[in-house]
Amino acid sequence: MAREEKPATPAGPEQIREGPHYHPDCDILERPDELIVRADMPGTGPERVDVRLENGVLTLAARIKDRHRDGGAPLHQEYGVGDYFRAFAVDENLDAGRISAEYADGVLTVRLPKSEAARPRRIEVRGKQ
């Protein structure tokens, strides 16, 4: 299949996916010092998950193996097989160097610490001696 070469634009990441992909359900939690993005990606694994932050866009992608190699006729089929993909535009007030990701029980958890400048800060008020 021929693919059109598209330059990466600041508006979005390069489109390099082929075929259908699934949009995993995500939760985003905001805490005073960090953001947590959680994506339901059952059936993949840490070695097949790709988390990137480029040009202010956080992308979560995961490849999945074909689950239906067991042989036999599907009597009932509700979930398809395909890769996962999601993209979020993020504010620059995040500390890109300290982003961490973890995959457990089919759930990908990405922690995005806020940069020093973006954290809420309480300034102590001292009385004059």
Partner: protein
């Protein structure tokens, strides 16, 4: 309106993107439209208002020659959260996805995942032996394998030609 620190990229919903949901499409479209409106007014994702009380995990049932395989997508759950029973040729899976207590205090900018109780039942194909069933959790996918009884496996019946006298 509060400035959003993180928001979905517009380009992510291409014509090939599919949402993993067992809900009928018009209903889920209506739901996401309502949620978008809510977010615009309140700057925060709605938690329970538009969610059904129970959720429906996706399940596949595969009828093989030697065994029947049932798979359910249950991300974030473990063996201690599910209960599987078989009786009268019906397999039932039930359980509950708990929301952790610390998160109840968190502010959700976006909330799409499902939690709460679920229950699903399936009629087993003839020959499946629930007494020898085995279940396993791997990366958020629950797999139940049930061997078929020896006598129920397809057997080829030889066809003889009648000897003409």
């Amino acid at each position: 309106m509060a400035k959003r620190i993180i928001r979905p990229q517009k380009s992510e919903t291409g014509p090939l993107a599919r949402r993993r949901s067992s809900e009928p499409a018009p209903l889920s479209r209506f739901r996401s439209e309502m949620e978008r409106l809510w977010e615009r007014f309140f700057g925060e994702a709605p938690r329970e208002i538009f969610r059904p009380a129970a959720w429906t995990p996706s399940v596949d049932v595969i009828d093989g020659d030697r065994e029947v395989t049932v798979r359910a997508e249950l991300p974030g759950m473990g063996p201690e959260d599910v209960r599987i029973t078989a009786s009268g040729g019906v397999l039932t899976m039930s359980g509950e996805k708990q929301e952790s207590r610390e998160e109840k205090q968190d502010r959700f900018t976006r909330s799409e995942t499902r939690w709460g109780a679920f229950r699903r039942s399936f009629t087993l194909p003839p020959g499946a032996d629930p007494d020898r069933a085995e279940a396993e959790f791997d990366r958020g996918v629950l797999t139940v394998r049930m061997p078929k009884r020896e006598g129920e496996q397809p057997r080829r019946i030889p066809v003889n030609r009648k000897q003409s006298s």
